[in-house]
């Protein structure tokens, strides 16, 4: 098969910090060395690797460094990596939003990007007008859009509201509409960034199906970035794992996911976020507590694991729930909602800071677990979502011989009572 996209040593240098008076001095120096003295950019040599957590000395950072791989035509390639690993930067370069610092990308066919759907929606215009706007922004002509209008409206499921200004839409409907437009684009290469994070389960399923059709049926190439391992696994044959702006590994998607999961930082047990004022509700903290153990101790199969979620409600909320999904090897094991135990929260959630906690069941087998926590309104979409905020590993420390051998198959370990009678 032919190569659809070829990345040749793509690197991208960013300057950290604020643009101010000091920047002008740097610009002058750069201009002086490059244009007057005819030398290379002096700042290209001093960039540091992109590691979000460690404090660097240089103001310049390589968001991407020497990215070099090829994508086959008709392949669906998943790009994964921690926050700040360079995934979005890579897609931005590919979709020509910004230019690389060095290196070239060569591609066959039109590149259509789907970076955060709904961009370019004007709140005052109707759904129909916005379909035209959005389609044209993505590179379609009016005639092409008219030809596909019915299909797009149908796919989005927003037929009833199509002549209503989109400012009256719910955020979920906006995403549906945006995705529908982009999914009906006809580019040979489709670039998708984190779109499936929003929208309800039914629509996510539809979207994944559509993307599979796009690659299988129509032979188009898809590059897909997501934190959602389940949807990545469902969609992609091949994957690329980015770490600190470099390709950590590439190849078969499952191997890449394994690599990703094993590199995740299992020693972190708590994360916090600032209150996001633009959302009606947001998650401010997630913590894993193990009963009777310090945070630096390993988790054993028999430990009781408590998940603590802190969140902030800006305005009293109706109909909301907090959902928790536990994953192992990118497979969702189960989900639990806070309204299961406190149904009154479904009717009314008071404003202010909240804290909710629960114990995980005791039948988890050794392995690395991942989670997804969100606040949302069933059938309307998520308000705040934390995809893979923390990972943890359960070990079998107290091996007691064959009686508790845990090489058994299956996802869970139950203590099921067997009764044996001599007959």
């Amino acid at each position: 098969m032919a190569t659809a996209i070829e990345f040749n040593n793509i690197s991208k240098l960013y300057r950290l910090g604020m643009v101010g008076t000091g920047t002008l001095a740097h610009d002058m120096k750069r201009w002086w060395t490059m244009n007057i003295r005819g030398k290379e950019d002096p700042y290209l040599t001093i960039g540091e690797t992109n590691d979000r957590s460690s404090k660097g000395t240089s103001d310049y950072v390589w968001a991407l460094k020497d990215i070099d791989f090829k994508v086959e035509q008709g392949d669906v390639v998943g790009i994964i990596g921690k926050n700040g690993a360079g995934k979005s930067t890579l897609l931005k370069i590919l979709s020509k939003v910004t230019a690389p610092t060095t290196g070239t990308i060569r591609a066959r066919g039109r590149i259509g990007s789907l970076l955060e759907v709904g961009t370019g929606f004007h709140p005052e215009m109707t759904g129909r007008e916005n379909i035209y706007m959005n389609g044209a922004i993505l590179g379609m002509t009016k005639a092409e859009i008219t030809k596909k209008l019915d299909e797009i409206v149908d796919f989005s499921g927003c037929e009833r509201y199509i002549d209503t200004p989109v400012k009256r839409y719910s955020s979920g409907m906006m995403v549906r509409l945006g995705f529908s437009v982009a999914a009906h684009l006809d580019p040979e290469i489709l670039v998708v960034d984190e779109v499936l994070a929003v929208g309800d389960a039914e629509f996510q399923k539809k979207a994944i199906g559509k993307m599979q059709d796009v690659s299988k049926g129509e032979g188009r190439t898809v590059l897909f970035v997501s934190h959602n391992m389940a949807s990545i696994k469902a969609l992609c044959r091949h994957g690329v794992l980015l770490e600190n702006g470099r390709v950590k590994c590439a190849g078969n998607m499952e191997n890449v996911i394994d690599q990703y999961i094993s590199q995740s930082d299992l020693s972190i047990r708590k994360r916090n976020w600032e209150v996001n004022d633009s959302k009606p509700a947001c998650i401010t903290g997630i913590e894993i507590q193990v009963e009777g153990k310090r945070t630096d101790q390993l988790i054993d199969m028999n430990d009781r694991i408590k998940i603590v979620v802190e969140y902030y409600i800006k305005e009293p909320l109706k109909g909301s729930n907090i959902s928790f999904v536990l994953y192992k090897d990118a497979i969702p094991l189960f989900s639990t909602w806070d309204v299961d135990s406190s149904p009154e929260l479904l009717n009314y959630r008071e404003k202010g800071y909240h804290r909710t906690e629960f114990y995980l069941t005791n039948n988890l087998k050794p392995g690395i677990y991942d989670m997804r926590i969100d606040i949302g309104i069933p059938n309307r979409g998520t308000i705040d979502l934390k995809e893979s905020p923390l990972q943890f590993e359960i070990r079998n420390i107290l091996t007691e011989g064959s009686r508790k051998s845990f090489t058994r198959t299956g996802l869970f370990q139950f203590s099921i009572k067997w009764t044996d009678t001599n007959i």
Binding site: E6, V19, A99, G109, A250, N255
Partner: protein, 324 residues
């Protein structure tokens, strides 16, 4: 199917043989593998090549033409959304210049007693205000192209030039309505107030050229400013002030003929807007200084300005997301 999982060979090829080939040649000799690729790709051309820097003068006009539907949609959006949720709607197009003209009549005509080339004040001011308003509106809007559209530019690529062009085009509607107002006032004066005393002549037919030049000038200045303000916002702060001052350097509230000092007269004529506005007044109202030389100067100025603006804009649009 063979898959590699180590960092040294990052090829995702499915075919085993090629994969082996590639990882070997890449490790041994990088340039050789490039050559291999090139020979392989000859049967199917690369349609997109993304490089760090384009040539300075490489402006993709074909691409801009391909996105003409987007331009027209932007124009429609600009027009239809401007007066949504207002009661008077497009009537504002007429209210604004009317009040401005009344104000000028009081301040410049009444208090400062600046002559108006022997023309009725409303006509004189209105002609200047219409043209100036179009120019300054376009300039103010296009000069913030990058900053104002950073959100959408940061997510999807389309030729950025579409935005300022559509601004200049959509403002034509407003200009058209205000020109209509001017013609109505003109008709009132020509027919009832001072019948036959306004010497309209064939030069009025230059109107489309004049408007085109105004559009070109505002677009040129606008994209120049927007390119220069992505990183350093100082100019943006200056622009608003600068445009307001500029009006007084343009024969909007005074006729060029009032300036008798030769040096000052020359200085005012260097303003590329001066010949345009004077030509308009000369054509429609029969008063003012018309010169082909002046118009040619303005035209040349517009062309050079546009060329510089487009080149700079094109350069900035590739990386402005990193600095905006």
């Amino acid at each position: 199917m063979r898959t590699t999982n180590n960092a040294s060979s990052r090829s995702l090829e499915i075919s085993t043989t090629r994969n082996l080939d590639d990882s070997k040649s890449r490790n041994l000799d990088d340039s050789k593998s490039r050559n291999l690729d090139d020979s392989k790709s000859q049967n199917m051309e690369w349609t997109t090549v993304i490089k760090p820097k384009e040539k300075l003068l490489q402006v993709d006009f074909k691409e801009l033409w391909r996105y003409r539907d987007l331009t027209s949609l932007f124009v429609r959006r600009n027009i239809t959304t401007q007066y949504k949720q207002t009661i008077l709607g497009p009537l504002w197009y007429i209210i604004q210049p009317t009040i401005t003209v009344l104000m000028y009549m009081v301040v410049f005509g009444g208090i400062a007693k600046i002559p108006t080339d022997g023309l009725p004040q409303p006509l004189f001011y209105l002609s200047g205000v219409c043209l100036w308003q179009y120019f300054s509106d376009c300039l103010n809007k296009t000069s913030s192209t990058f900053v104002a559209n950073a959100g959408i530019f940061g997510k999807v690529y389309f030729p950025r030039m579409v935005v300022p062009i559509s601004t200049v085009v959509s403002n034509l509607l407003r200009f058209g309505i205000q020109l209509g107002l001017f013609l109505v006032v003109y008709a009132i004066y020509q027919i009832w107030v001072i019948p036959g005393q306004i010497h309209t002549n064939w030069y009025a037919l230059l109107l489309p050229v004049l408007v085109l030049m105004l559009a070109g000038l505002s677009l040129g200045f606008g994209i120049l400013f927007s390119s220069m303000t992505t990183k350093y916002r100082d100019l943006q702060l200056m622009l608003d002030y600068f445009v307001r001052l500029w009006m007084y350097a343009t024969p909007v509230v005074w006729p060029l003929s009032t300036i008798t000092n030769a040096k000052l007269h020359l200085a005012m004529s260097l303003n590329p807007l001066t010949p345009i506005i004077e030509a308009f007044k000369y054509g429609f109202l029969g008063a003012g200084e018309f010169s082909w030389g002046g118009l040619a100067y303005s035209f040349a100025f517009t062309v050079v300005l546009l060329a510089v603006g487009v080149v700079l804009f094109n350069r900035v649009q590739r990386t402005f997301m990193d600095t905006v």
